[in-house]
Symmetry: C2
Subunit: 340 residues, 2 copies
Amino acid sequence: MPTSIKDIAKLLNVSVSTVSYAINGGPRTVSPEVKEKVLDAARELGYRPNRVAKSMVTGRSRTIGVVPPEIVEDVLLSPYLQLALNGIFNAAGSSHHDLILFTRLAGSGHEEVLSTILDGRVDGAVFIAPNSTNRAVLLAKELRIPCISLAGSEIDGVHTLSVANETGMRLAMKHLFDLGHRRIAHIAGRLDMQDAIERLRSYSDFMTENRLAYHDSWVLKGQFHPDGGYAAMKSLLALPNPPTAVVCANDDMAIGALRACQEMGVNVPSQMSICGFDQTSASELTIPPLTTVFQPIAEMGRYAVQSVLDLIDGKPVPRHVTFEPTLVVRSSTTVPMKES
Amino acid sequence: MPTSIKDIAKLLNVSVSTVSYAINGGPRTVSPEVKEKVLDAARELGYRPNRVAKSMVTGRSRTIGVVPPEIVEDVLLSPYLQLALNGIFNAAGSSHHDLILFTRLAGSGHEEVLSTILDGRVDGAVFIAPNSTNRAVLLAKELRIPCISLAGSEIDGVHTLSVANETGMRLAMKHLFDLGHRRIAHIAGRLDMQDAIERLRSYSDFMTENRLAYHDSWVLKGQFHPDGGYAAMKSLLALPNPPTAVVCANDDMAIGALRACQEMGVNVPSQMSICGFDQTSASELTIPPLTTVFQPIAEMGRYAVQSVLDLIDGKPVPRHVTFEPTLVVRSSTTVPMKES
DNA sequence: AGTTGGAGTCGAAACGTTTCGACGCGCTTA
DNA sequence: TAAGCGCGTCGAAACGTTTCGACTCCAACT
């Protein structure tokens, strides 16, 4: 039973409203003497305002929800998510909001999904890379909860922040093409996610536009996981006439691919150029450091929070913002070997 | 204005209590017909229980707070914290609790620190590696908020989970000693953190016990950051008779040290053995992969959540639990070179 | 037949705030 | 001097729940 505003009121023989005014510099003024008495008493009694009660009456919690792409074991181990979360965390901190991390959407029906989000504990929500089957974001929208989809599929009516995947992919492809590569493979991500789809499409487009022949066997699915990248590279190397370069849809897969090359005695970059995507912190620790596409994920997280806040305040927020990636050239790509 | 229990009551001409009983299978029984009517109406109207209101009357929020060691920009980029957070996230998910991540302890007075934690939004809290100057955890304890200190300084009266730093350090030192190293340096962490202090002490103890001479110049402060490790290694290599091996108090610093060696053309491990601490995911991506001390951080996170939950339920929880680390031998350590 | 008791329901209190309407007081202004 | 106004204060309503006491039936006892 912590001290409440009532205790102070009783002790000082004033009304609760007066105490409230004094503490908040409230909507009404309080005489200096009373104010001082109240503040002293509050300190004395160790008074802490109860945020839950405050939330109930104001309808605001100064807390925003963060919903990971899927709620499964170890999802926080994803470097991409970590980067986004860090950006969100920074922004929330500087705007004096706390974060609720939702942990239990999995295995629950839609009903429960909604209850978790819309139970009044958050003023708004950031959905990180929701895939198109993620109904929660749709329902949140339908119920007019201020929310932002960060790097997810474009869903109509939902405010979305995305990265220009096409630019990023073209940057990587052009880099390899300019180096002289013609046989370029692609290790794709999870094709139920928008990013993966767009990166794959840009790859195909680039190959077609430049009249580069490519086979189905050059497009592999790596599920965004290192092991997927590893397996994909293994099967690429087993091909009779393997490609000389590969662009991966994220860094984790590129790291897996790198490991596969090392194991098979294939030198990177001289025998195989590898390009990643995302510029996660691990991408510069590999040997050789990965050439990769930098996405301003952390900045997007920051922007997402600001947008949610604006949405809450009823300010206008652009329906869709696209961030431009840039290419970070490091040592995992070089000119292809002469032979062939 | 979302639908409330009252709307249902009004619509059906029953009392709010009846609706509550029907929805919760509440403490009183409801006739089957009424129950069905209520449930139908709730679905119809899209009723979502308001958790804030529920919290207020029950005093429980099914949410637990997570407090990072310090609240500064980019704190979520720390691999150690990520690992711990992931463990906490997993555990919270399976016990149907959400997480509040506190983002604004920094720069606020003690008063605000407390308000943030004790404002009724959380049932308990996990403090990740609080250092001894972190007053928040003390105050939380004083106010009887169920809380666990995860891998932090031991503070009396606070339930603490720690890792046997001594065991870990000895494992690393003995490994190097057995390989034949006698000139072993230590790059220490932030000496305001318990872990760093203990690791440093164990290093000294080991050196003394084995009658190994060591100089002050072999003990460097790396602040737990890669750049600190880098700088430390640089100054080690500048020594007239540098050590043949170095144990770092975390992986990040070991990675920095590795980079310094690479830059200076010092081969790791043949000319310099490097040992890390924590087994973060980056530690196996370096070339060579780091020999490091594995701490079950993720498991500790899980355990921490369970303990907080037990504390909340009034179950007995051991005041102090120690987890044992193990050594992961990879390729950054080997026998020292013959010369000298 | 009268008593007990459980099932089903209602009304109201409680949780800790914020904020509105009302009121009294003293000061200015006509 | 009366009207008007702003300041400081109080009491009460409101937010959306849960749950307790009380009440009414009706069935099952003695």
